[in-house]
Structures are given as structure tokens and as C-alpha cells.
């Protein structure tokens, strides 16, 4: 009976294993946060690239897409807009206020020039998605070697 509980589901080895996992998680989190502390600005962006261009995504919940300003000059993308605070009426009080608000501007330099005329942006479920095709003149040229 004693042996069974000792080696069964609640064995100290399981408990140690759980502790080890928990420690790993704590330390992984620590390094992750110290890394992301250098996040240069708002909004946070993810940049996806291939040889034909780039896709930039950003999470911007609750924004009127009409008020978003996206500008592209050569290889620089500038994104600005505003998170409007909630409009509370007289007598309404906050219990909790965690969501950020205010104006933001962020510039981002891409590793190539962008064909500014055909940049496309979509806004869905609070996620902005900008497709930036690489300028034709800027694309790498393939050089064929002729046989002498």
C-alpha cells in the first residue's frame, strides 16, 4: 500500500519533474522578456520577406482603418494612427484601465526599395497586413554566363 502510493501517480519523481519543467519555463520567460524589452516602438511588427517583396503585419485592435496613415518612400515604410480612448460619460467610472491609447508613428526600413504604387494594405480582425512588392529595378538580376 505504502509502496504503491510512493511509486504511483504522486511519486516525488513526478513532482521533481514538474518542478524542473516549471523552472525551465520561468527562466525561458525571463530571457524572452529581456530580449523583447528592446522592442523599439508601437505597434510591434512582424516582417516577412521573399525575393519579390515583403509583408508587414501589426496588431492594431479597434482602429478605424480610414484613420491609418501608411506611407512608403523608397525603402521606408511609415505607419501612423491613433488609438482612441473610450469615451466615458458623466458618472461612469473606470474599474480597470489597461488598454493603451494615443497617437503613434513608426518607421521601418526594408532591405530593398518598394514599388510604392502597388502597395496593398488590409485590416481584418484588428490585424493590419501590408504587402510591399519590391521595386522592379531593385530586384536581383540573374546573369547568364555565355559560353565563349
Amino acid at each position: 500500500m505504502f509502496g504503491r502510493t510512493f511509486w504511483g501517480q504522486t511519486s516525488p519523481w513526478n513532482e521533481m519533474e514538474r518542478l524542473r519543467r516549471e523552472m525551465n519555463r520561468v527562466f525561458a520567460n525571463l530571457s524572452a522578456t529581456s530580449e523583447s524589452r528592446i522592442t523599439p516602438g508601437y505597434p510591434a511588427m512582424n516582417v516577412w520577406t521573399n525575393e519579390d517583396g515583403a509583408v508587414v503585419t501589426a496588431e492594431l485592435p479597434g482602429i478605424d482603418p480610414e484613420t491609418l496613415d501608411i506611407a512608403v518612400v523608397k525603402n521606408t515604410l511609415t505607419l501612423s494612427g491613433e488609438h482612441k480612448p473610450l469615451e466615458l460619460e458623466e458618472g461612469e467610472v473606470y474599474h480597470r484601465r489597461e488598454r493603451g491609447y494615443g497617437k503613434f508613428t513608426r518607421s521601418f526600413q526594408l532591405p530593398f526599395n518598394v514599388e510604392g504604387d502597388i502597395v496593398e494594405a488590409t485590416y481584418e480582425k484588428g490585424v493590419l497586413n501590408i504587402t510591399l512588392p519590391r521595386a522592379e529595378a531593385d530586384k536581383p538580376r540573374k546573369i547568364t554566363v555565355k559560353a565563349a
Binding site: 512582424n46 473610450l86 488598454r99 493603451g100 484588428g126 490585424v127
Partner: protein
């Protein structure tokens, strides 16, 4: 930056869920959505930022006094592209709130627009009546 003073976006980083107590069954990243809660005369209103969530990927349950919001996010990566610079991660959302008895459970309304969930929790009519005691 010139706009720094106007900017009140305190944190850009998403807060990952801390696994205390029950673990999640889905082995995915999960974040605590930021929330604003305010009280009006008629209701308590809860507004949470959950980018990537729509009306079909939200699960809101009320059990006993605990209101739980679950938002499932489909990670759609642009096809044919590779991530070359990443600042944020995509995952589900989960958060629970304890409600007071004041809320009328049958009249809770939830709407979601542009990744922002708005929960309207109307206050219940007081079921207990205060009895005034008159001096005899």
C-alpha cells in the same frame, strides 16, 4: 519622438499566460488580453483587445461567478514568405473575471469588432429589498 507626450501606450509586449492551477489542453501560446472595465448606472462594461479574434473564434462562458473569455487565433502566415524580423507572437487569449451578484446573467451582451471584444453586463434589479424600520 514628437508625439511621445501624447502617447500613452504603456506596453507593447503581450503578456503571456502564467500557468497556475489548471493547465491548458491546447499546446499553444496564450496571452492575457488587456482590458478596460468601466461602470455605468445600468451596467458594467468590459472592453478587451484581442487582435485576430472574430465572433466565430470566441468562447465566453459564465460558470458560477466566473466569467471566462477564450479567444482562439488562427495563425495565418503569409504564404511563400519567410519571417525575417519578428517583434510579436501570435497565440490564443484567455482571461477570467469574478463577477459580483449584481450582474443580470441572462442579459449579458457580447459584440466583437476589429479585434476588440465588448461585453455588456447589465446590473440586476436588487432582489433583496431593504426594509425601512420606522420608530414605533
Amino acid at each position: 519622438m514628437a508625439n511621445e507626450k501624447e502617447l500613452n501606450i504603456q506596453e507593447t509586449e503581450k503578456q503571456e499566460i502564467a500557468e497556475t492551477g489548471a493547465e491548458r489542453t491546447r499546446s499553444r501560446l496564450a496571452f492575457v488580453p488587456r482590458a478596460d472595465i468601466y461602470e455605468t448606472n445600468e451596467a458594467i462594461v468590459l472592453v478587451t483587445d484581442m487582435p485576430g479574434v472574430d465572433e466565430n473564434s470566441l468562447d465566453i462562458t459564465l460558470e458560477n461567478d466566473v466569467l471566462t473569455i477564450n479567444g482562439y487565433v488562427e495563425t495565418a502566415y503569409p504564404e511563400g514568405y519567410g519571417l525575417s524580423y519578428g517583434e510579436y507572437r501570435v497565440g490564443d487569449y484567455e482571461r477570467s473575471f469574478t463577477l459580483s451578484n449584481k450582474v443580470d446573467r441572462n442579459k449579458i451582451e457580447a459584440t466583437v469588432k476589429d479585434g476588440v471584444l465588448r461585453l455588456y453586463l447589465p446590473k440586476a434589479e436588487p432582489s433583496m429589498r431593504k426594509i425601512a424600520v420606522a420608530a414605533g
